[in-house]
Symmetry: C2
Subunit: 339 residues, 2 copies
């Protein structure tokens, strides 16, 4: 018999199989991939390194606005989605089962540091805060565009998390439609609200802040927890304590940066440098009725295993560490550091 947990918002199933971590592997224990550039703070061929600014499109934002920038934002040279009407796309034929439409959007790159070999695990809090502030500025600018319905902020760290370039960077994609996964979460939150008259995230926060069983870190405005039914080993969520559906209304940016910073600090102490994705989920502009039951948050999805054929085929995740155990380890790591 195995314990299967259900995420209270999405209904997603997670099987816990603690012994899975004991299984042998001849693929995941190989010496770390050799990247000869990972030791250097400047790489001539890297388009994101300080000094190579001409290799990227002109910047939209530079902080500070000088040669000695710490963060640079510019349009993605190879955008996932285009901003202009530069293709003559044929729309779906009437009565076709195959539907297509024109997506219009924006795709920006945030270079998080001038230095090639920096990352979230090794940055100091001051620099990390400057990056978060720059991200927030661009998020607000993009979401204020009347053609943009949703902004996806995300980070890919290492190849196993889908990163293309080593230099620390994250991305903002503005879309003119609501992404499915966000829609499902908002709908799941409505179902929860209809039953309990409470925002599920507020409800979760109340529980986690009182029981502290899955709480890793908190400050005045934010909490960092391992969720009850995590898809990934050491998955964490960062939530504002106050009920806020939209990210652009968040004022406590310093506290947000601190919460994220200490979360990565804890993970680094416990796990070392490892592949992960981070993303933001917030209420889409046109889903206004969700204002009472949706709550913006960040997710960190470590990519230490999984997303294999079983997960892709079934939507069920297999997790080899209970979140209570993961949270305990991460919390202890942070307490050790503080001493």
């Amino acid at each position: 018999m195995s314990e299967i947990r259900i995420d209270p918002i999405t209904g997603r199933h997670v099987i816990f199989a603690v012994e899975r971590d004991l299984r042998p592997t001849d693929l995941w224990n190989l010496a770390k991939e050799v990247n000869p550039m990972s030791e250097l703070d400047y790489v001539q061929k890297c388009p994101f390194c300080k000094g190579n600014e001409s290799a990227t499109p002109e910047e939209i934002l530079k902080v500070p606005d000088s040669e000695d920038w710490k963060v640079r934002v510019f349009p993605n040279k190879f955008p996932a989605i285009k901003s202009m009407d530069d293709e003559n796309m044929q729309s779906s034929k009437p009565h076709s089962i195959y539907e297509k439409y024109s997506g219009i959007g924006t795709h920006e790159v945030i270079v998080e540091s001038p230095f090639h070999n920096t990352n979230y695990f090794t940055m100091n809090l001051e620099d990390f805060t400057i990056f978060i502030e720059a991200m927030v500025l661009r998020y607000k600018a993009i979401i204020s565009n009347k053609d943009i319905e949703y902004v996806s902020f995300f980070k890919n760290h290492q190849k196993l998390a889908g990163a293309s370039l080593f230099h620390p960077h994250s991305q903002l994609i503005g879309l003119n439609s609501v992404p499915d996964f966000v829609k499902y979460e908002v709908e799941g939150s409505k179902t929860f609200f209809d039953k309990t008259h409470s925002c599920p995230y507020c409800h979760i926060l109340e529980l986690e802040l009182s029981k502290k069983e899955r709480l890793i870190y908190e400050n005045e405005h934010f909490a960092v927890i391992c969720p009850f039914a995590p898809k990934y080993k050491y998955e964490t969520w960062i939530l504002p304590k106050k009920h806020l559906p939209y990210f652009e209304t968040e004022d406590n940016i310093d506290e947000l940066a601190k919460a994220l910073y200490f979360c990565f600090k804890a993970m680094y102490i416990e796990l070392g440098d490892f592949p992960f994705n981070m993303f933001l989920h917030a209420l889409p502009k046109t889903m206004k009725s969700g204002e009472i039951y949706y709550h913006y948050h960040f997710e960190i999805n470590p990519r230490l295993s999984g997303n294999a054929g079983f997960e892709l085929g079934t939507g069920i995740y297999i997790n080899s560490i209970y979140p209570e155990e993961a949270a305990k380890k991460l919390k202890e790591a942070l307490e050790k550091e503080e001493k």
Copy 2:
């Protein structure tokens, strides 16, 4: 403007961004991961190699049933889901927002070859057929268990596809519940059926077999296509031409093996050895009303990119090759081979 396609069954959105493949990378072009064991047909430490049978649980099936086996099936030593009541799990507390339940199931490993360095790309058709026959035997045995609702057959090839071991193997997990992704597909098929009075897969087959724009291979009983809105570059689906909801009623196993074999052959000629997942989707036992609108099929999901933060956060996939182009290349690869 970017072309966004919608999968006719799941409604999933895929953005096409052909230029994305031109973007620079310093992570994906590194020399292939060095696996010193990948050249050998026998590795002493590999639990799946011929001669090391004592390193695995006792086999359930061996074909042929002799020391010179070509395929071996045994229970997974580190199962994702357990078959017995060997834990004292506390069930959810009443009124808790956190639900959990006991999963009971089976988890079997199919060692697809006695040789360490074999794979789908290099196996001959005869050996590949023996493997498929063994898989079908075990699938039928597991699905006939009254406690099993669904059997997930899946394959992980290479680390980027989540494989733990190099030696060629696939897995069968029997579950006592219906996986979400299968449920969504069955529900999507019902919506399609309600509008068109046709099984979506039969409808797709009719279109693809007449237009041949995305058809890679066909034989009397099977078709191999690139779907209209593929999540992954070079994604392919293998479908029986006849409307069959359940996999266990399939009789044309030789033809199925041939379709899969030639699909992998085409991919190998075009792409070389690459990471992929393969899985089977079939109608769950308790969704009998789906018999008229659901159609079993295999999916091959190449893992040449993606499943990064944007995909995990939004559920939208970015594909850099149109399926018409991918199918053309794969079809031409096969035609070249046949000459």
